[in-house]
Symmetry: C2
Subunit: 196 residues, 2 copies
Amino acid sequence: MKFCSRCGSEHMVWRMPEGDTRPRHVCDSCGEIFYQNPNIVAGSIPVWGEQVLLCKRAIEPRFGYWTLPAGFMENGETTAEAAARETLEEACAQVVIGELFAVFNLPQINQVYMMFLAALPALEFGPGSESLECRLCREDEIPWSELAFPTITHTLKFFFEDRRDGRFRLHFGDIVREGGEAVLLERRVQVPLTGA
Amino acid sequence: MKFCSRCGSEHMVWRMPEGDTRPRHVCDSCGEIFYQNPNIVAGSIPVWGEQVLLCKRAIEPRFGYWTLPAGFMENGETTAEAAARETLEEACAQVVIGELFAVFNLPQINQVYMMFLAALPALEFGPGSESLECRLCREDEIPWSELAFPTITHTLKFFFEDRRDGRFRLHFGDIVREGGEAVLLERRVQVPLTGA
């Protein structure tokens, strides 16, 4: 931030406001404090029988790589509405959003992914403006080496594993970069709640 | 937004950028687009035997009302880390964060609550700077009419219900204002995933 969006002053500083615990963008002229917080990326796993619907990205980052429909949640909507909207925008598909299936924290890029199971009620889909191509894939047709993001790879792996097990459960974890590689730290803590 | 934080111009407009689907704050001088997205509120249900730890708020909104420790997630942390930090800040308690227990969308105020089960490993807690008082409550001691937010009321109700049932499951829903009242729309959709 170079200028204060409240008073227009150029005297922006990066410092800890009184009573706060971390530095913020602060205007030295009018005193306004500007907070920056993580964003939610909401998406769906559109299912048609044995297949799921993937999109080939027509935008950066990861142009040309495959993804599940997902994108930034907007003000005024719910996470499920965001997942449905992104699926419509990227794959021109009207899905029925089901259960929350995967939540991934990406602390290094300030994002939280929330991926939902979804049903494709009809075989109607096609590339939206952010996609080059959309395709239904069985498990053995997933282009694993050409997936856009680790969040997508893990979501698809968990989906096909759970389907084989005959039940879907919530998957929760952190994806962090360690030595150039994205590592999933799954969170399956069960705290003892009967003690004391 | 009155001034552009990139170039300092006063020519800020509220309009739909090309290729976008909704209006944004746009600088008419330098072209910068400013996005505003929902925030995550992360919190915990600190459990000690039959009791949970509540905090009496020392800040607005809802000064003097009771809450579970919760607050805005910060950049660079995970949702579980945010829940642990808020518990330390508001109740001076070091908790062990467990499973994700409740997710509530609040589309009218652009927030998503994520509440975690947590274990209090020791009877060490006390009011942080944002709390007047902290107290362990059994179910029959919860000040139901003096709780700060609907998200807290629903989280506590679900917690004690699940505990009676002997199992904790994820609760997911939207809390919307209808005629001045906060209404919870629980999401328990199970999409048929074996069709086609």
